[in-house]
């Protein structure tokens, strides 16, 4: 009897054990939560966005026309993040991926091509009038809205007025960068006068602000709640056929009367697939494009897929509380920079898939980069010297001043692989004698503590490094993404000047000077720029737009790519 029970239990135990093991292994195929390091490839935050305007449209719009009976040329895009809101200018979530989904349906005055150059979109030509600080746009006369109405200068003037009253979440039109007034010269010519000199006007406004049809939107009082089928009538190459908030899917079909001709890709699908599953889906042929983790790039290329890398525009940085002793001392911040091996950081925490941070924040592959600034190459000796110069003494391997040990709190978060980065920095700083208490917080609590200056050091990240106007936002601007450093008059003045400098050569000089001063005072320390990749079968020549789509979105889905397709 005893033996029987024993045997049974052993068998049950063994089965349990095997099942557990099996579940563990099978668990691999499941989608893991998006906060894993790879989640960043497609869910990269774009700086300058306000909080995600998560208004939740319930209506699923369908455009009246039925799809053609013959098999259309279809292209499927895999994305691990899924839902980004109803793709109308006021209802998409106010971050890059939401804007991209909306940009298939709506057009701007100008747009960027694969070289990052501004090319005509709704405007055929444009001209800057220096003495009036105004732009004159000559519009195309062959543009129709998806419902057949003509697009004219009236729509542009209306959009500007409407957006002044109802700020569009993704586009800034208020404050010093704003538009003073519009003047309709004829049906297809419009003059837009600016409030102030504003160098990145084409990038930030003409190339980002989408045009709204006056005949539809003039009756809309609360644009954030406008989610019926008319809210997706634009002039863009695609019309929305179906959107599912629950499944995070979007289905578009080509607009036959598009002013550049009907897009070669007739049907565009965006589907939600976990990051880890994208390589498998690509190989299986069920999707044509998807963001992939850097670790698998080599394998995808071997399999014959084309892999494109995003121009580096996102940086992880060490935010420093420069209002608090001893971090308020410049030399102390410089000592931190010397003590952290940024090349090693990329090598280890990113497994080499990235570039070490420049002390001037702008990445080395940017046209605005200044190569002649202090880079604080890894030098723990120098770091110790600087600290000793400030009166710290090493006791038992730890720095002490006036009997007080030197101890700092380092905050990090589980997103973007920042835990490993935090651990790396902790090890490096402790090895020179600074005691580090590492704390991992949930994203929102971290934001609020940084916002309230309730921290010493924090691992942080933001994008938008394509256009130098970001420097103003993240050095002197407000909010937790910014260093909020206004103590250096020269830096403040340079930042203001570069924003107003309309001459590109002079502006570049100013931006380079800013990097030199920034690297010297170090309000924060850029740690690295991660590499982001997308893989695709080469049916469509997907490209990353240098400088990012619109105001700087680091996503490879520029709508111009879909005008051509290998199949046709």
């Amino acid at each position: 009897m005893l033996k029987g029970i024993l045997k049974r239990t052993v068998v049950i135990g063994l089965v349990l054990f095997l099942v557990l093991g099996g579940v563990l292994i099978a668990g691999c195929t499941d989608e893991v939560d998006e906060d894993t390091p790879q989640g960043q490839a497609t869910s990269s935050p774009v700086l300058g966005d306000s909080e995600e305007a998560r208004s939740t449209p319930t209506a699923v719009a369908t455009v009246d026309e039925k799809p053609a009976p013959s098999q259309p040329v279809s292209y499927t895009i895999a994305d691990s993040t899924g839902d980004w809101g109803y793709p109308s200018p006021y209802t998409h979530y106010s971050r890059g991926p939401g804007y991209i989904r909306m940009s298939f349906v709506f057009d701007t005055l100008v747009w960027k091509d694969e070289m990052g150059k501004f090319v005509p979109a709704l405007a055929e030509e444009w001209q800057y009038l220096e003495d009036e600080n105004a732009y004159v746009f000559k519009l195309r006369d062959n543009v129709t809205w998806h419902d057949g109405e003509k697009f004219t200068a009236e729509d542009v003037a209306f959009t500007v007025e409407y957006v002044k009253e109802h700020p569009m979440p993704f586009t800034t039109l208020i404050g010093p960068s704003g538009i003073r007034e519009t003047e309709i010269i004829d049906d297809y010519t419009i003059k837009i006068s600016l409030e102030q000199l504003y160098a990145p006007f084409l990038n930030d406004i003409a190339g980002t602000l989408v045009m709204l049809p006056q005949h539809i939107w003039e009756e809309v009082v609360v644009p954030e709640e406008f989610t019926d089928a008319k809210a997706v009538v634009g002039t863009g190459p695609y019309m929305l056929v179906d959107y599912s908030k629950e499944h995070g899917t979007y289905l578009y079909k080509a607009f036959p009367d598009y002013y550049l001709g009907k897009p070669a890709v007739e049907e565009l699908k965006l589907v939600k697939i976990g990051e880890q599953m994208i390589p498998a889906a690509l190989k299986e042929g069920s999707v044509d494009y998807g963001g992939v983790s850097p670790d698998i790039v080599g394998e995808m290329e071997k399999e014959g897929f084309a892999v494109v890398m995003a121009p580096r525009g996102w940086n992880a940085k060490l935010t420093i509380n420069h209002n608090k002793e001893p971090l308020s001392t410049r030399e102390f911040r410089q000592a931190l920079a010397y003590a952290i091996d940024r090349d090693g950081l990329v090598e280890i925490t990113q497994r080499g898939h990235g570039a070490a941070g420049s002390a001037g924040m702008i990445p080395p592959d940017s046209e605005w980069y200044n190569p002649n600034i202090e880079q604080y190459a890894y030098n723990p000796e120098k770091a110790r010297e600087l600290l000793e110069g400030m009166g710290y003494q090493l006791e038992d391997g730890w720095f002490v001043k006036d009997g007080e040990p030197l101890e700092l709190e380092l905050l990090t978060q589980s997103r973007y692989g920042f835990v490993e980065v935090g651990e790396f920095i902790q090890q490096q700083l402790e090895s020179i004698g600074i005691k580090i208490e590492l704390r991992c917080l949930e994203g929102k609590s971290l934001d609020s503590r940084v916002d309230a200056w309730d921290f010493d050091l924090s691992v942080y990240g933001h994008g938008g490094l394509y256009e130098p106007s970001i420097l103003n936002k993240v050095i002197t601007g407000s909010g937790f993404n910014s260093a909020r450093y206004e103590k250096n008059e020269i830096l403040n003045q340079l930042l203001e000047e570069q924003r107003q400098e309309m001459n590109p050569v002079k502006r570049k000089e100013l931006v380079q000077q800013i990097q030199a001063v920034y690297a010297d005072v170090l309000p924060a320390l850029t740690l690295y720029y991660p590499n982001w990749y997308s893989a695709h079968n080469s049916r469509v020549a997907i490209f990353y737009t240098p400088g990012g789509v619109a105001s700087g979105i680091p996503i490879a889905l520029n709508k111009l790519a879909f005008m051509q397709c290998e199949d046709k």
Binding site: M1, T9, L20, D33, D35, L438
Partner: protein, 281 residues
């Protein structure tokens, strides 16, 4: 009480297997610094290495030695398991025994609270709490203890109701012993074997929960934990190397939980003496 847990354990060969396994894990945890060659959190540039003489179980995505992490992870698991078991058994004993002894309205209120706690899905509460505070080890122990005493409290109360009528307890009471005195002097010692079983169950639950929270990525990720190791490994499951990172913590966790289950199984006759007759035949 005439049931000795020690004897029960000796009688059951499964129990002996459990004891051996748990002792092995204990040795791993206690002597971790002597058994490993690398700092568990020491990052190196050699990521995703297969097992070798240098790294017995290979390395993970930031070049940390998996064997070191496994050994230190055992510390986390056992620390959480043991502490939660101690605290929740203490709570169970105090609350269950006092409910039985005091009786009346107090008993009814306490038992309704127990009912409520049993109905509340602990995992969901934990996930909600953890998502907001990213708990470190201390928090996890407190939360798991506060959410884990209700099962024991019921058993203890039932047993105390029986013990209360026993001769020696009744005698002490008639001499004017206070409830407090009764609990500590008579009830708890007599409850020993039952508390031991509760202890085993609570430890198993806590170890599993801690790993689960870490696996879901809602505990403090800077704690070295088997759950966290599995979480990290699954982030790279599109590469072939993930197995080296996933299997060791998975096996270690399974073995630990299994060993405690075996021990608990051996103790079962303590809770239900009717099982003994059959097993002893």
């Amino acid at each position: 009480m005439h049931i000795s847990p020690k004897r029960e354990l000796k009688r059951s060969s499964l129990g002996r297997v459990g004891i051996v396994l748990i002792v092995l894990v204990l040795i791993l945890a206690i002597f971790a610094p002597l058994l490993v060659r690398y700092e568990p959190s020491g990052q190196t540039a050699s990521a995703f290495e297969s097992p070798s003489l240098e790294h017995w179980l290979g390395t993970n995505h930031v070049g940390q030695d998996i064997w070191s992490q496994l050994a230190y992870g055992a510390r986390t698991s056992l620390l959480v398991g043991f502490s939660v078991a101690v605290f929740s058994v203490l709570l169970s004993a105090l609350i269950g025994a006092s409910a039985a002894l005091v009786g009346d309205r107090y008993d009814r209120i306490v038992m309704r609270i127990v009912d409520a706690l049993i109905v509340i899905p602990v995992v969901i509460v934990l996930v909600l709490l953890a998502a907001y505070i990213k708990p470190g080890i201390g928090y996890i122990i407190v939360i798991l203890s506060l959410l884990g005493w209700q099962f024991g409290a019921r058993v203890v109360r039932a047993q105390t109701l029986v013990l209360k009528e026993e001769m020696h307890v009744a005698a002490a009471k008639s001499f004017g012993a206070s409830n407090f005195y009764l609990i500590f002097r008579h009830i708890i010692p007599d409850l020993g074997p039952i508390l031991l079983v509760q202890f085993v169950y609570a430890a198993r639950r806590a170890i599993f929960m801690e790993a689960g929270l870490a696996f879901l990525g809602i505990a403090d990720p800077s704690i070295i934990s088997w759950g966290m190791m599995m979480h990290d490994a699954l982030g790279f499951c599109y590469l072939d190397v993930w197995r080296w990172c996933l299997i060791p913590p998975g096996v270690a966790l399974s073995l630990t939980v299994l060993s405690i289950t075996f021990i608990g199984h051996a103790f079962e006759p303590v809770l239900d003496p009717r099982l003994r007759g059959e097993a002893g035949a």
